[in-house]
Subunit: 207 residues, 2 copies
DNA sequence: CGCATATATTGCGTGACACGCAATATCGGA
DNA sequence: TCCGATATTGCGTGTCACGCAATATATGCG
C-alpha cells in the first residue's frame, strides 16, 4: 500500500493519475458547481502537465477524473475496518473505521461540496461512494463470521454504511450545520449499524 | 397520478417519454450488456418513432433513457409507504411497501439485469435507485414523527432501504438464486429497518 | 556503462453525441 | 372551424472518447 512497496513504474503511474485527478478537482472547484461545463479536457490536461490523450488514458470522462480521489478514499473503507482491534464490538468498530477514514486528514469540504452538489457529477459521486461497498462487505463478513456470497447481511450493511456516510456528508455540507463531521457520522451510522448483529433472517441459501 | 388526472398534453408527453424509454431499454437488452455501445441514438429514436432531436428533448443521454423506467419506479417508493395503514409497525410497513412496489407487476428480470450488470450504466442505475430516497425520507419522517431537516434518521434509513433493495436485486439476479424476489427483499430489508425505531441519537440540532 | 526491451506518452483521425437555435408541424380548446 | 400554445424537427457547432501507430522514456541485464 505504501509507495515504496510497489514498482517504480506503478508509482509514476499513480503520481500522474493523482496529478490529473487533483487538477481536475481543483479546476472544477474554481468554476463552481454551475460552471462545470467550462472545465475543458484541455484545461485539465494542461494543468496536470500531460497531453489530453494521456488524460484519457487514465480517465474516460471528466466526471471520473474529478471524483477519483473520493472513490479511492472510499475503497479504503474495508481496510479501515480490518485495522480495528478484533475485540471491539461490531458497531463501534464500523463507526471508528469510518470516522478515522473520513476525518484523518481534515476533510476537503470544498471538494466534497463540489462532488455532492453538482448535478452533472451525481452519478459519478454515487459510484465513488459505492466503491466502498465490495471491500467493506468482505471486511464485515470476515468480522461477523458471515459469507458474502451466502448472506445478505454483509452487503446490505455495507450499502447502508455507504449510504449513511453519503447522507452525513450532505448534512455536514448544509449551511446551518455546526456539528463536526465526526459527530454527524456517528449519529448517522448509529441508525443503521446494529450493536449486536443479527443475521439469522438474512441468510439465503445458495447451492 | 392517474392518466386522466392530468392535462392531455402532459399525457402525450409522458407517452412519448415512455415510448423512448421502452425502446431504449428494449434495444439495450437485445444487444446485451457487452454491446451497449452498438445502441445508437438513431436506433432508439427510430424505434420510438421520433426524431433523434426529439429523443434528446426528453433525455440527455442514452443511459438516462435506458434507466428512466427504473428511476420512475423508485420515485414511487415514498407513495407506496404512505399508502400503508397507519397502525402498521414501521418495519413491516416499509417492507410491505417495498415488496408491493417491486413485485406488483412481475419484475422485469431482463431489464434489471441489463441495468445492474452493465458497467456503463452503473452510474445511472445508482441514480435511479437514489431517486427513491428523497420522497421515501419524507414519508419515513411523517410516519415516525421526525423531521427530515433536523433528524438524520429519515434520510439515513431511506438510503439504507434503497441500498438494501439494490443489494437484493443483485442477489436475485445471481445465477444460483432460487428464492423469490419478495423473500430476498424481506431478508435484506430486515437487516437495516429497525422494528422499533430509535432516533434519539440521530437528532441533530439545526438553527 | 550501454543496449535492448517493455512501457508510457503523444499526435492524429474518426465517429458519435448533446444541445442551442429557429422553422415547422401538430394538437388542444374555444 | 380557427387560433394560439406546444411539441417536433433539421441543421450547425463544439466537445469528447478512443483506436491506432509512432515516439519518448525508463527498467533491467549483459
Amino acid at each position: 500500500m505504501t509507495d515504496d512497496a510497489m514498482d517504480l513504474r506503478a508509482r509514476n503511474r499513480r503520481a500522474t493519475r493523482e496529478a490529473i485527478s487533483h487538477a481536475a478537482l481543483r479546476l472544477a472547484i474554481e468554476q463552481g458547481p454551475h460552471g462545470l461545463a467550462l472545465v475543458r479536457v484541455t484545461d485539465i490536461a494542461t494543468a496536470a502537465g500531460v497531453s489530453p490523450r494521456t488524460y484519457n488514458n487514465y480517465f474516460s470522462s471528466r466526471e471520473e477524473a474529478i471524483c477519483a480521489l473520493q472513490a479511492d478514499q472510499a475503497r479504503r473503507l474495508g481496510e479501515a475496518l480490518r485495522s480495528r482491534p478484533a475485540g471491539e464490538p461490531f458497531d463501534q468498530a464500523v463507526i471508528a473505521a469510518v470516522i478515522e477514514l473520513y476525518t484523518d486528514p481534515e476533510p476537503d469540504k470544498a471538494g466534497l461540496r463540489m462532488i455532492m452538489q453538482t448535478p452533472e457529477l451525481e452519478g459519478e459521486a454515487l459510484k465513488a461512494f459505492t466503491m466502498a461497498e465490495p471491500p467493506l462487505a468482505e471486511a464485515i463478513a470476515d468480522r461477523t463470521g458471515t459469507d458474502v456470497t451466502r448472506d445478505l447481511f454483509p452487503a446490505v450493511t455495507a450499502a447502508a454504511v455507504a449510504g449513511a456516510v453519503r447522507v452525513a456528508g450532505r448534512h455536514w455540507l448544509a449551511p446551518a450545520t455546526t456539528e463536526s463531521f465526526a459527530t454527524i457520522l456517528r449519529a448517522a451510522l448509529s441508525c443503521v449499524v446494529p450493536s449486536t448483529p443479527d443475521f439469522s433472517s438474512s441468510r439465503c441459501r445458495r447451492d
